[in-house]
């Protein structure tokens, strides 16, 4: 062990770069520095995505052309989708917080392949830059929606080619991160960390990593084929030349449905970390939680064609995929009930991370239940391609993963930077976000049920009131988001010291200094207890505070 690590300085890994200045970050193989690189990148892309989303909503505030043309509107929602999905939600939790906390939760000094880890980030950055370049070059920004459906994606003159290359590279980045996490989880656990003592965040990262590894290559080959169709005029998906566009949809969703579990599973892991800490109680049903994560990953890989109920598939296929879709609801519900059961008779301290976790449970449940409306073929045909789908999707992805991401920010940033944010402001921001969110997306679900199609920039006057309401909701949401970020950034720059364990957590990251030193542990820890063991400070449920 070298001398610099024996006496960690105050700012830990933040001040301990191998090279000077920015090179100490962009060429660092330290998993925490790479995690922060991802965090800064995904937050930047998230901000861009939010602005695009706000513009989409602003266009819809009144019927007809309001602020942009139809073509620009198509580009806006396409880019909103591509950026939010491929550049924010998919890499968000696993690549940013997973990178920082997976090795620490395992009692390891780094991931299994640190250089591969850095390479993943460079791939991510390349993909992100290409995606942004696609906006300003070629025949204009892509206008296909994030799904790149053929035949339109093959014939449109906009810059779909570059966008598919960007998605291919981002997919490669995601695969390598998943691969790294699987090997790390298998090989880097400290003495005493059995599979039964993994944190649930690690369990969900592990399940996610398998989905990343097994599903992403299919997306890779699919977008590569779209690219080649455009360049070489192959006709593989072109009915006029014998191709079948439905095959594209199958291949696309074989990845992209499991991908929604790449998005949500790490979020569930965060919630499973936050709730026991702020309820001062062991998680209810540890193994049920661990296994339901794997079950979601497994069952979720078999339901892709429920995106295609109206595509002209056979009725048998519709029946099978509908049934399988309902099966995914079981492990998801197990998780929700277990979180609530963990809170029951706990000694609850209502801090910002718990507030976000609670809103996750509420919003994810609404999103999950409306998902059943879409999973049942009979009801799905009525709401296919309406705002109902958009509302449902945002309840699951933003209300689910987004809230989990915010919970993670409030829970872990004090560990990463060693400083606290203003808790009162954090609670206010949460309130604005929750209210704005529901006004925005609940209105959209109602609109969808009444027949408002998605991806239209114009609508009949009957839909005006609810559209105005939704747009106002988006402004409230934006105020909440800005408040939250300003509070977090101020806190992390100049907030009061957080101490090593501000929340009273029992997992390994709370046993090391804040910010953690380079290589995390002076000595590799020997673990003798589970991650949620509060037996030494148990409160009497009956007479609790």
């Amino acid at each position: 062990m070298s001398e610099t690590h024996a006496i960690p300085n105050d700012r830990g890994f933040l001040a301990d770069g191998k090279y000077p200045g920015i090179f100490g970050w962009i060429f660092s193989t330290d998993h925490k520095r790479i995690g922060l690189l991802y965090l800064y990148s995904v937050m930047t892309m998230f901000s861009v995505g939010v602005i695009l989303g706000l513009l989409v909503r602003l266009e819809l505030i009144a019927p007809g052309e309001t602020i942009v043309t139809a073509q620009t509107y198509n580009a806006l929602f396409t880019l909103h989708g591509v950026i939010m999905i491929f550049l924010f939600i998919i890499p968000g939790l696993p690549a940013a917080f997973g990178n920082i906390f997976l090795p620490i939760h395992l009692g390891a000094r780094d991931v299994a392949f640190p250089r591969l880890n850095l390479f993943s980030w460079w791939l991510y950055l390349t993909g992100a830059l290409l995606a942004v370049t696609a906006l300003f070059t070629g025949g204009g920004p892509p206008d296909t929606g994030w799904t790149f459906y053929v035949p339109f994606s093959v014939h449109t003159t906009t810059n779909v080619s570059l966008a598919t290359v960007a998605v291919f590279i981002l997919g490669f980045s995601s695969i390598l991160t998943g691969l790294n996490f699987i090997v790390t989880t298998h090989r880097m656990r400290a003495p005493g960390i059995t599979w039964g003592r993994l944190t649930l965040f690690v369990w969900t990262l592990y399940a996610t990593a398998w989905v990343q590894v097994l599903a992403t290559p299919i997306l890779g080959i699919t977008v590569a084929l779209v690219f080649l169709e455009r360049i070489l005029n192959l006709g593989l998906f072109d009915p006029a030349r014998g191709g079948d566009p439905i095959m594209y949809q199958h291949l696309f969703w074989i990845y992209s449905h499991p991908a929604v579990y790449i998005m949500i599973l790490p979020g569930m892991g965060v919630i499973s970390e936050v709730i026991p800490v702020f309820a001062r109680k062991h998680i209810f049903g540890y193994w049920a939680m661990a296994i339901s994560g794997l079950a979601i990953a497994f069952a979720g890989s078999l339901v892709w064609a429920h995106h295609m109920f109206v595509s002209g598939m056979s009725d048998t296929a519709i029946f099978v995929f509908s049934l399988l879709t309902f099966i995914v609801a079981i492990p998801s519900a197990v998780k929700v009930f277990n979180w609530v059961a963990t809170l029951y008779k706990g000694s609850i301290s209502l801090e910002a991370p718990l507030l976000y976790a609670l809103s996750f449970i509420l919003l994810f449940s609404i999103g999950g239940l409306t998902g059943l409306v879409l999973g049942a073929a009979a009801t799905d045909v009525h709401v296919t391609d309406t705002d109902f789908v958009v509302g449902h999707f945002h309840y699951v992805m933003f209300g689910g993963t987004g809230m989990a991401f915010f919970a993670a920010l409030h829970y872990w940033l004090p560990k990463v930077y060693g400083r606290l944010y203003n808790k009162r402001v954090a609670a206010w921001a949460w309130g604005f976000i929750l209210v704005g969110f529901n006004i925005l997306y609940f209105s959209m679900m109602v609109l969808g049920l009444r027949g408002m199609p998605r991806r239209y920039y114009d609508y009949v006057p009957e839909f005006t009131n609810l559209n105005v309401l939704a747009t106002v909701g988006s402004w409230i949401l934006a105020v909440g988001l800005i408040t939250m970020f300003v509070n977090l950034i101020r806190g992390m720059r100049s907030g009061p010291p957080a101490g090593d364990n501000p929340w009273g957590g029992k997992t390994l990251e709370w046993a090391i200094p804040s910010p953690p030193p380079t290589e995390n542990f002076l000595e590799i820890p020997v673990v003798t207890r589970g991650p949620y063991d509060y037996s030494d400070e148990i409160v009497d449920g009956e007479n609790g505070p």
């Binding site: 299994a112 290559p217 080959i221 014998g242 290589e519």
Partner: protein, 194 residues
């Protein structure tokens, strides 16, 4: 890094997972192949008869020989015969280069001589599209694999790979065998279809 981290089992595990992703990448193309074969059985058969079966067979033999060399080089390194291992690896590189050269001859004749793709009927056009994409992707893998083998040969020469430490050679060899195995599926599916 102040703590040297060495974990051969982990490195192998990582490589095997990576190979799964490669199989799935090709898997997408094989799924398309099977669906379209079902749709256009006759056209696929016609298309298959236009392919150069002699060059295809030759390339199969070349790849199998290359794989044998790579597998032997691993044994050679384990027994401490660095020089032999290096030669065997260069043979592997040679097999890749020869394969690509044959491919070049085959494709320039096909694309230049008889423009199948442009004039073909519905099903045949699909066959040729899949043929060019699948074999193109495979050819790209041969190129990458040959480069990997060349790097390994240099590492063996420098003693970076030796009888104590050869996991890089194992992993590189695995990659080369994957390239080989994918071809073993491609060859009958495209060249030997009746």
């Amino acid at each position: 890094m102040s703590h040297e981290h060495r974990d051969d089992v982990g490195d192998r595990l990582g490589m095997w997972i990576f190979l799964y992703t490669e199989i799935l990448l090709f898997g997408g193309l094989f799924v398309l192949y099977s669906v379209y074969l079902h749709h256009y059985e006759e056209a696929f058969s016609t298309g298959s008869h236009h392919l150069n079966i002699v060059l295809g067979t030759l390339n199969t033999l070349i790849l199998l020989t290359g794989s044998f060399c790579v597998a032997s080089s691993l044994s050679a390194v384990r027994y401490g015969k660095q020089r032999l291992a290096e030669i065997l690896l260069w043979c592997g590189v040679g097999s890749g280069v020869l394969f690509l050269f044959n491919k070049y001859l085959e494709w320039s004749a096909e694309i230049g001589g008889s423009p199948h793709l442009a004039q073909a009927e519905k099903g045949e056009a699909i066959f040729y599209s899949l043929y060019y994409v699948t074999l193109g992707l495979h050819g790209l893998h041969v190129l990458i694999g040959s480069t990997v083998l060349a790097v390994l040969a240099v590492w063996v020469h420098r003693g970076k790979i030796n009888s104590e430490r050869f996991v890089a050679l194992e992993n590189g060899g695995l990659y080369w065998h994957l390239v080989d195995i994918v071809w073993i599926f491609i060859f009958p599916l495209y060249y030997l279809l009746l």
